[in-house]
């Protein structure tokens, strides 16, 4: 690796890499710019003027934003808790032993994100239909938790693999039972990974739209509200303000998750 450090970077490669990163980031910057535009009807660029009034209008005179926001927060919170429980159990079980069918089972847990969301959505919807389950907050949560489990599982499995087995054995030798060992030895070591997985699961659920459209019935989460505004716009700058808000709410947990797992392991999930 040492010979690697002092090589010069080919110029073409550097330009292509930087151009690629700009391509990834400029559109996001634009959302912020448009939240301040004075132009109400179109997406005129450059904005004819800048104003902060839309933040006030979104806050005070658009009550239609609040119920979807509460619903999204509620769904994301419960789905995250469920995902934490089931994802951790799965990771603990699959990382501690090798047995026949283990590969297949781990593939099962990844399947909800490897298959397109629309399949998960319509599959759940037909299952609810067949079993005559009416749409409710819980049908949304059921769908969200299903793909959030993967995120927690990925983070937890990565940490369990690095877990020092000697510490567990030492704890047992010193007379701790399985529950005490879990609480005092294992949990402190996997805690940050679980927190990171939970944060990512929350961000994922808060932002999910495809599965939600199939499992929500008449209810509106914040992304579904946004989708509605995209198809039939009312006040475009207000939608821009909400977009900035959603961006920040999904981004903060991601940065926190990165901070929690940055030593040596990738922030798990790698996918939606």
């Amino acid at each position: 690796m040492s010979s690697n450090a002092n090589r010069t970077t080919p110029l073409g490669l550097r330009i292509a890499a930087i151009a690629g990163l700009l391509f990834l980031h400029l559109p996001l910057a634009l959302i912020f710019l448009y939240a301040f535009t004075t132009e109400e009807k179109s997406f005129e660029f450059p904005p004819p003027g800048l104003t902060t009034k839309w933040f006030g209008i979104a806050w005070t005179s658009r009550p239609d934003i609040w119920p979807p926001l509460y619903l999204s927060l509620q769904v994301a919170a419960i789905a995250t808790v469920l995902a934490l429980i089931f994802g951790t159990l799965a990771a603990a079980a699959l990382s501690r032993t090798r047995f026949f069918g283990r590969e297949t089972i781990s593939l099962l847990f990844v399947l909800p994100i490897a298959l397109p969301g629309i399949i998960t959505g319509i599959a759940l919807r037909s299952a609810f239909d067949i079993m005559s389950i009416p749409f409710s907050v819980w049908t949304i949560i059921l769908g969200h938790a299903t793909f959030c489990i993967v995120v927690v599982y990925n983070n937890a499995v990565a940490r369990f693999r690095r877990l020092n087995g000697n510490l567990v054995e030492a704890s047992m030798d010193l007379g701790a039972n399985a529950f005490q060992t879990f609480r005092h030895v294992i949990l402190p070591q996997i805690g940050t990974a679980l927190l990171a997985g939970g944060m990512l699961a929350f961000a994922l659920s808060f932002d999910e739209v495809i599965v939600t459209t199939f499992t929500a019935g008449q209810q509106t989460t914040l992304p579904i509200w946004m989708l509605g505004e995209l198809i039939r716009p009312r006040q475009r700058p207000v939608t821009n303000v909400v977009a900035v808000f959603v961006f920040v709410v999904t981004l903060l947990p991601i940065l926190a998750a990165y901070y929690l797992t940055r030593e040596g392991e990738h922030t798990g999930g790698s996918s939606k």
């Binding site: 010979s3 690697n4 970077t9 490669l13 292509a16 890499a17 690629g20 990163l21 391509f23 990834l24 980031h25 996001l28 959302i31 448009y34 179109s42 997406f43 005129e44 450059p46 089931f86 994802g87 159990l89 603990a92 079980a93 047995f99 099962l108 490897a114 298959l115 397109p116 969301g117 629309i118 399949i119 319509i122 599959a123 759940l124 919807r125 299952a127 059921l142 938790a145 299903t146 047992m172 007379g175 039972n177 399985a178 990512l200 932002d207 739209v209 992304p223 946004m226 989708l227 995209l230 959603v246 961006f247 999904t250 991601i254 940065l255 990165y258 922030t267 790698s270 996918s271 939606k272």
Partner: protein, 312 residues
Amino acid sequence: MTAAVAERQRGIGGAISDIFFARPQLLTFLLLTPPLLWIGVVYIGSLFALLLQSFYSLDDFSGLVVHEFTLATYEQLFEASNAQIILRTVLMATLVTITSAIIAFPIAYYAARYARGWTKALFYLAVMMPLWSSYLVKVYAWKLILAKEGIITWFANVLHLRWLLDGILELPVVGGPSLSFSYLGTFLVFVYIWLPYMILPTQAALERVPVNFIEASADLGADPRQTFRTVIFPLALPGIVAGSIFTFSLTLGDYIIPQIVGNSRLMIGQAVYTLQGTAGNIPLAAAFTVVPMLIMAVYLWMAKRMGAFDVL
């Protein structure tokens, strides 16, 4: 060891611990059962329910679902209009995947081989942020960019390239009234949204290419292009294939992007959405979803053989 076990605290916790200690498989089984039940019942169960529906059919006169097994619904998939939807979607997914791989490679290569310390962290964050930030907000951003009065038109005017933009929009098939109502627009947004999914596994694969291999290749007289073709690219391929699982699968199933940025010609996701919603034709919608499932099953099987799962 035995002495320590004997000295252990008693009580229910201790007793249960002793059972687990004696039979570790029992603990694994107990840990695994709840999540497996969830995925097995909720998810796999639903998938089977969906599969079952695809073998039913819709009565043309009453508009009700006939609960009898038939392959008639699958036959409908081969009708010209439906087959076109499938072909169009698969073609789009293929083009999006190839383009993502081409754009992702330099970023992944730079991050894997040249970035060190804080630049490496910066690259990682710079890819993670767009990956995880709100999907709808990203699509929305592109609506702003591609709109007729938006930033691309403005740039074309400033650079006196309006003729080029208009020329592209006049092209048959890919063009349209504006970029936000064209296949070209749909394609751009797909590439943008799925690009990070391609970068990360490609980078993971490239990080595993031993530097010695590249140096050895150069020492043996290969020019950089030959080294790339015979050493770096084959070793990076499993990563690219892993990334393509996501870019391809997500494009196959997405219906939001073509709905917001696209023309009126449907893709598989939109067809499924309208068929199950307004049309009420659940069997045909279900049969449509079996197409991406089958494609992905074959794709995942091939990817596994190429070792793509090792870099996921």
